[in-house]
């Protein structure tokens, strides 16, 4: 039974995590960050971005589930948060579509060397 649900019936329950476990989770988060740095400095080719996003998602999940106690809470809390995340993701997709649709000709990296050379020539 979740903490809040039981609290409503007069009992006091808390997440079963101990101080030692919380510290261990913190160390795991720090290690994942270190791995991210290694991947960033020594990129494994095309895997770099998926790997970095994956590690970031793992950290996000650990903090939300164990530090924010979503794992132990009433499911409505998780649903509320997921609604926000899904809406945010939808918004991001919509904004990308809005700014990039029919504009593929202009979605190229600018030729900075030419711009810099041009500025130097004046």
């Amino acid at each position: 039974m979740s903490h809040e649900a039981s609290a409503g019936h007069g009992h006091e329950e808390h997440p079963p995590t101990t101080i030692r476990q919380y510290v261990l989770i913190g160390i795991i988060l720090a290690v994942i960050t270190a791995v991210e740095l290694v991947v960033s400095y020594y990129p494994p080719g095309s895997l770099e971005i998926p790997l970095l996003l994956g590690l970031s998602a793992v950290k996000f999940g650990i903090v939300a589930a164990l530090f924010m106690h979503l794992k132990f809470e009433h499911k409505i809390m998780t649903r509320m948060f997921l609604i926000g995340i899904v809406l945010a993701a939808s918004l991001m997709i919509a904004v990308f579509a809005l700014f990039t649709h029919d504009d593929t000709d202009n979605r190229v990296l600018p030729d900075r060397e030419a711009i810099t050379a041009g500025a130097g020539g004046h």
């Binding site: 809040e4 649900a5 808390h14 740095l37 950290k59 903090v63 945010a88 904004v95 600018p110 900075r112």
Partner: protein, 198 residues
Amino acid sequence: MAAAAHDAGHQTSLGVDNRKLLMWIFLASECLFFGTLISTYLIFKGQSLVGPFPGDILDIPLTSTSTFVLLMSSVTMVLAVYGAQHGRLGLMRGMLVGTILLGTTFLGFQVYEFRHFGHVGLNLGTNQFGATFFLMTGFHGVHVGVGVLYLTSLLLGSMRRSGLGKERALWVDTAGLYWHFVDVVWIVIFTIVYLIPE
């Protein structure tokens, strides 16, 4: 106890405290807020015509250190919540102080970074990178600042004779939700801005 009775009055028919539910709904709305800022940054990524460019000025070791500091503040925050829930007020107060100090240190790193960028000629109006970078990380910094004030008010409240006891652990728990959210937002920003190449 009076405080317990007062808190019991906040239970909904689901058995969920409405103050906690409200915090989750607020955090869900914040997802949209930061989602918009991150989208804008990504849309303009690599589109700046004049420098300084991200690759020229972003100091990844420095920001990694500040990221580590913020991650550790999440550990101290969750221990403060643990202390409040288990009636260990000394632990709660100590960890709240630790979280406040770590949060302030993170803000110090951000102020240093912003000042450094200003000195090398990057500000809000310099290019697309400057506009979107300062807006996104600046708003995140404001959230950290609000969090530091929020936790400071809890700490001061806990020192009053009728202050935060075990019965009112939910106040610390709710503040913890806000603080952890600020942390997870930074996890995303750090990856997108600093780690993923232009």
